[in-house]
């Protein structure tokens, strides 16, 4: 493990991953119980990526997320109560119930939206990075996207422009091996999405996305580089989603084996990190238990808040389509 990492950072990384996992497990249950409508794309299995990258960002830095966005939102500072409220479609949600799971956003936290459009994020992050450079701030924009999204033209155009203009942008590809039900080998001829970076004139880095420290360190380098004005990086994190593409069990298609899922679970980011932290004496079993207990309390409160919140009303329907008021 890298030397100069404080125990606090290690503990934060751990609790971030636990909070994401518990939120997602609960959201999945609520969906199966029919309490949350629509489509939930859950992040279970990929927690190390959001936690490891976001550890280097402040609220001022921006991210764009994906349809599988809850983990990014939580790692970027999202609170459970307005998140659950959004999933319930309540007016107290992060988007007043208008966006739902696929569009969770919060400008104050620098979250430029989850996205229902695969590949929707990279051009927006590139634009935010352009703005950061234009306004001469030290902000960095990070875009998360999947292996599947790396086949959209939008990714390629954004990557080229970010490199051309040397923008403070980091492209984080979460390669979980599938775009929906299609295995990576059936949707692209490259094994490493990071190889594509060379075509645009930026470094491409491959990292084990099940190892939160590896993600943390690689992201640190990429974000430092961006912040220093040295341009974008493409960081590919090899990871895996434990649940189905949508929901928990999904459509019941057979596109992967239980053995494959189990093999990835053997390398679970949270469990292996816990083993490490226990061994190093950073955490005790009791303290780990407390992390879960706190997350569970947060869930309880968040769900209660969501359930007791009002639904939006007719008036809300036509609001927020345009900005109305004095121009700034």
């Amino acid at each position: 493990m890298a030397k100069n990492i404080t125990n606090k950072t290690l503990i934060d990384l751990h609790s971030c991953m636990v909070r994401i996992r518990r939120f997602e497990e609960e959201a999945g249950k609520l969906m199966e119980d029919g309490k949350i409508p629509g489509a939930l794309h859950l992040y279970v299995g990929q927690e190390a990526v959001a936690a490891g990258v976001m550890a280097h960002l402040s609220n001022k830095d921006q991210i764009t997320s994906t349809h599988r966005g809850h983990g990014h939102v939580i790692a970027k500072g999202g609170q459970f109560a307005p998140m659950f409220a959004e999933l319930y479609g309540k007016s107290t949600g992060y988007c007043k119930g208008k966006g739902g799971s696929m569009h969770i956003s919060n400008m104050a936290l620098g979250i430029l939206g989850a996205n229902g459009i695969v590949g929707g994020g990279p051009p927006i992050a590139m634009g935010a990075a352009f703005s950061n450079k234009f306004r001469k701030t030290k902000q960095v924009a990070v875009t998360f996207f999947g292996d599947g999204a790396s086949n959209e033209g939008s990714f390629h155009e954004a990557a080229n422009m970010a490199a051309l203009y040397q923008l403070p942008c980091v492209f984080v590809c979460e390669n979980n091996g599938f775009g929906e039900y299609t295995r990576q080998t059936n949707h692209q001829a490259v094994t490493d999405v990071a190889d594509r970076a060379a075509g645009y004139g930026m470094p491409g880095v491959v990292v084990d996305g099940m190892d939160v420290m590896a993600v943390y360190e690689a992201a640190e380098a990429a974000i430092k580089r961006a912040r220093a004005g040295d341009g974008p990086t493409l960081l590919e994190c090899k990871t895996y989603r434990y649940y189905d593409h949508v929901g928990v069990r999904g459509m019941g298609l057979t596109y992967r084996t239980d053995e494959e899922v189990d093999a990835w679970k053997q390398r679970d980011a949270i469990h292996s990190f816990e083993a490490l932290l226990l061994k190093q004496g950073v955490l005790t079993a009791k303290k780990i238990e407390n992390v879960y207990a706190r997350a569970n309390d947060e869930i309880k409160e968040g769900v209660a808040f969501a359930e007791s919140s009002p639904f939006p009303t007719t008036e809300d329907l036509l609001e927020d389509v345009y900005f109305v008021g004095a121009a700034s």
Partner: protein, 333 residues
């Protein structure tokens, strides 16, 4: 067909009618193939290509990357050079990714080439709200497409039409969009086993009436029928016309209906402003002004993106109640 059903009508859900239509087209046309995201092994996220990969193999059921511009381009290029592609765009909203390929290439190529290219390409795509899928997975963009000279646009409201339109579209030598509805997938209708076409450019009168015409598109046909039933109780005898073919539009059937009823309403799920209903109203006042006894009413979605919250989506999507209310307004009852 099962023994028990042998003598009854052959009922099929919309989703299976799509499968059957595509299967028969693939059997009929050697150079037809299906290409799109998760169409093969997964059989489409809506399930309508189930079994086709096993039956036809991966030469003819082609899983593509998530690259809509590439997918439509594949259809255009292949159609121009001797294939008859059936292109799948999972959600109609994703046409945003490939609007250039649709609007600037597919729609114009034949014209720009002075008639030199023929593009027998069919695009199947899924529209409509109602599943809490929010602003980017629920839209009805048929008016976008109908505005493009060079493409045809069909909207099957039922299983019979879904199959017949897919067959008609695939046999047509032009780009044809079949805009299907995700809320209708389980809806059953009588569907003959043999191949048949639903003629492109022909509306269907799905309920005859003498006092009021309701022109409906896609899933709204069923809301219009429910409204007509309610209105019948109020003594208003409604005719319901399933527009079906958006481009070309069957103004003849529409005008004939107006000549009979003298009053009308148009309804679609798309945003009312700039929706296809406005075109229908314009054509009717041009061609049947003297037969109109009242302004033609329009029902459509409000001018906002499709909201996620079930509470808002319910308010958003046009329904029978709103049709009834508008008809009553026109009639002053």
């Amino acid at each position: 067909m099962s023994e028990a059903l042998k003598d009854g009508p052959r009922m099929l859900p919309y989703v299976s009618a799509i499968t059957e239509g595509v299967r028969q087209v693939l059997q009929e046309q050697d150079n037809a193939f299906v290409a799109g995201e998760d169409v093969g092994q997964a059989g489409s996220v809506f399930g309508y290509y189930q079994g086709l990969l096993d039956e036809f193999g991966d030469r003819r059921i082609v899983d593509t990357p998530i690259s809509e511009k590439g997918i439509i381009g594949l259809g255009v290029g292949a159609a121009a050079t001797g294939c008859r592609p059936i292109i799948d765009i999972m959600f109609m909203d994703f046409l945003g990714e490939c609007m250039d390929e649709v609007a600037n290439q597919m729609a114009k190529m034949r014209f720009m080439f002075g008639g030199g290219a023929t593009l027998p390409v069919t695009v199947l795509t899924m529209a409509g709200a109602g599943m809490n899928l929010a602003a980017q997975h629920s839209q009805s963009w048929e008016a976008f497409l109908a505005h493009l000279p060079g493409v045809k646009v069909l909207m099957p409201s039922n299983a019979y039409d879904a199959k017949g339109m897919i067959i008609a579209a695939s046999r047509d030598d032009n780009p044809v969009f079949v805009v299907m509805n995700k809320m209708s997938l389980a809806m059953q209708a009588e569907v003959p086993e043999e191949m048949y076409e639903v003629p492109i450019g022909k509306a269907a009168i799905v309920r005859e009436g003498a006092a009021f015409s309701i022109f409906a598109m896609g899933r709204m046909v069923h809301e219009a029928l429910a409204a007509a039933k309610t209105l019948e109780g109020l003594g208003v005898d409604c005719e319901v016309v399933d527009v079906r073919s958006i481009q070309p539009f069957d103004s003849e059937t529409a005008v004939a209906s107006i000549k009979k009823t003298h009053r009308a309403l148009v309804v679609h799920e798309a945003v009312r402003f700039g929706g296809f209903g406005g075109e229908i109203v314009a054509q009717l006042q041009e061609e049947a002004f003297d037969y109109l006894d009242a302004p033609i009413a329009r029902v459509g979605a409000p001018f906002s993106p499709v909201p996620y919250s079930p509470a808002l989506e319910k308010l958003y999507i046009p329904n029978a109640e709103r049709i009834v209310a508008e008809v009553k307004k026109v009639l002053g009852i």
